[in-house]
Each structure stands twice: as structure tokens, then as C-alpha cells.
């Protein structure tokens, strides 16, 4: 009975929403002209990066804070059990993983750099870095992480701290994350570099901290 009601409701909701979207008039507020008008002063040439790091920089600041918070939550609920013995892995696979990981680091740096003028940026680059670390973990080259040491803690928090320091300095100078146009490009690149490094570690940590307690299941 519940199934019929829920599925029927979902169907009706979809039909209504699609019908409403067909009738929808263009949005009353058009932000594209204002994005384009201020692009020259934003320090980057790609509109999405300009929105993320300049016009709505506080969104991205809170976003990295949310990621860090999620990682802390995972650290709080996973127990350090110590995984079992590492599985035997084909040495050829390990060698290929090493080569792939090296290339992925190059790709991550390129994506970070390309974010200023074409699709790319810190989050994409961080995701590639994290994927490289997960690949190394799956081929047995990188053990699952235990309780993070001091260096790893600083590495995980570095992106957020750099971003916060820049935001605090700019707050003293004037408004929240309103970059002076002359230094906007350099500041955004500094923030994005910190974000890429920390995001790689955080996203990999979401996987590696979870995979460390493999002996958890009864």
C-alpha cells in the first residue's frame, strides 16, 4: 500500500514539475551581464571560477569547512582496528599504478592552472589527486590511514587555513573576500593551490580512513 502511494506520488510530482517547467518564463533576475561586466576585475578569465572564488568566495570557504567537518565526523565514528594483512598484488599492476599516479599529479596541476581561463580548478584537481591516492591504496602501495599524525592534520587543514587567513586579512582591509583587483589573480591562485592540496588529502581521507578498519565486521 505504502509502495503504491509513494510511487504514484512520485509520478504525479514528476508530471506536475515537468509541466510547470515547460511553462516557466525566463528568470526575472539575470546575473550573466553582471558576471561578465566584472570578469575583468575578478583576476580570472573563466566565469565559473570567478563566481566560485571571487563573487561568492564565502560559499567556497564554507564548502571546504563542510568537507573538513565530514572528515572529522568520519574520524569520530570509525574505530582503529588495524586492517588485515595486505593482499598480494601483481607487481605489474603496481608499476602501472605508479606511472598512472605520476601522470595524475601532472593532470591535477594542469587542471589547477587551467581553472583560471577554462573549465577546471581546485576541486577538479583535488579530485584527481585523491583518485591517484585511492589507486595507490587499492594496489597495495599506500596503506589505509590510521589516526592522523601532526603533519597529516596540518595538511588536511592547510587549504581551509590559507583560505581563512586570506579572508581575515581582506576583512581587515575592507569587505569579506573583496580582493583588490591588482592582486586578485595571485590571491585566487594561492587559495586554489592550498585548496587543491588539502582537497586531495581530504577526499582521499574519506576513503582511506574508512578502509582502515577492515576488521570491523563481526
Amino acid at each position: 500500500m505504502k509502495r503504491v502511494v509513494v510511487v504514484g506520488g512520485a509520478f504525479a510530482f514528476t508530471l506536475l514539475l515537468v509541466a510547470a517547467m515547460r511553462e516557466l518564463a525566463p528568470a526575472a533576475i539575470d546575473l550573466r551581464p553582471s558576471v561578465a561586466a566584472h570578469l575583468a576585475a575578478s583576476g580570472v578569465e573563466h566565469p565559473v571560477t570567478a563566481v566560485l572564488l571571487n563573487y561568492r568566495g564565502y560559499d567556497t570557504l564554507l564548502e571546504i569547512a563542510v568537507l573538513l567537518l565530514a572528515l572529522l565526523g568520519i574520524l569520530a565514528v570509525t574505530r582503529d582496528q588495524g586492517g588485515g594483512a595486505p593482499r598480494p598484488v601483481d607487481p605489474l599492476l603496481q608499476m602501472l599504478a605508479r606511472i598512472a599516479a605520476t601522470l595524475m599529479i601532472v593532470v591535477a596541476i594542469y587542471l589547477l592552472w587551467a581553472g583560471a581561463f577554462r573549465p577546471g580548478g581546485a576541486f577538479q584537481a583535488g579530485a584527481v589527486l585523491a583518485a591517484a591516492m585511492v589507486l595507490l591504496h587499492l594496489t597495495g602501495l599506500l596503506p589505509g590511514w590510521r589516526q592522523p599524525g601532526v603533519r597529516l592534520r596540518w595538511g588536511l587543514a592547510a587549504g581551509f587555513l590559507v583560505f581563512l587567513a586570506v579572508a581575515a586579512a581582506l576583512l581587515l582591509a575592507g569587505g569579506l573576500l573583496t580582493y583588490p583587483p591588482a592582486h586578485a589573480g595571485a590571491l585566487i591562485l594561492l587559495i586554489e593551490s592550498g585548496l587543491t592540496f588539502s582537497l586531495g588529502l581530504i577526499l582521499a581521507g574519506l576513503f582511506l580512513f574508512l578502509s582502515r578498519d577492515e576488521g570491523d565486521a563481526p
Partner: protein, 100 residues
Amino acid sequence: MTSGLIFAGAGAALFAMGVAGVLLIEHLLRRILAFNLMGSGAFLVLVGLAQHHDAPDPVPQAMVLTGIVVAVAATALALALVRRLHGLTGSLELPEAEDD
């Protein structure tokens, strides 16, 4: 019927499927997948509607990018909680409430 509208319609369908999944599925791993389906549907609606009438708008795209990252964080936290539940009770379903 522009391609943007097709994206938005597919997003609405995905969102509805996700809602139905979250309500109907007891298995927590699948429920998390359904929850992610809901999120993907909402992102598709945002991006699709924004380019429905003319050129794409960078503001919704940036919002969706933020949303994807937050969804990843929420999913990872949910998976950690499910693993903990599985470690404690050996079950992948939520226990029935006492006063049911």
C-alpha cells in the same frame, strides 16, 4: 523543447525516483544511493533550467559544483555511520522504533 528542458525534466524524474527510494528502501546502502540520486536530480534541474532559454549561466553552475562537493562529504559521512552501525549490530537496516 530545448535540451535544457530535457535535462531539467530528467532531473525532476531522477529526484522523484530518489525520493521514492529513500522512503521505500530499508537497506541503508541503497538508501544512500537513492539519496544521491535525489541530489543529482536537483543539480540537473538547476543546470538544465539555467540554460533553458539561452546561453548557460555561470552562477547556477558554480552553485551545483559546490553542491556536488557537499553531497560527496555527506555521502562519506553517511557511509561511515552505516559501517559503524554494521560493526555494532551486524545489520544494514535501521532498527524498528520501540513504540511502533
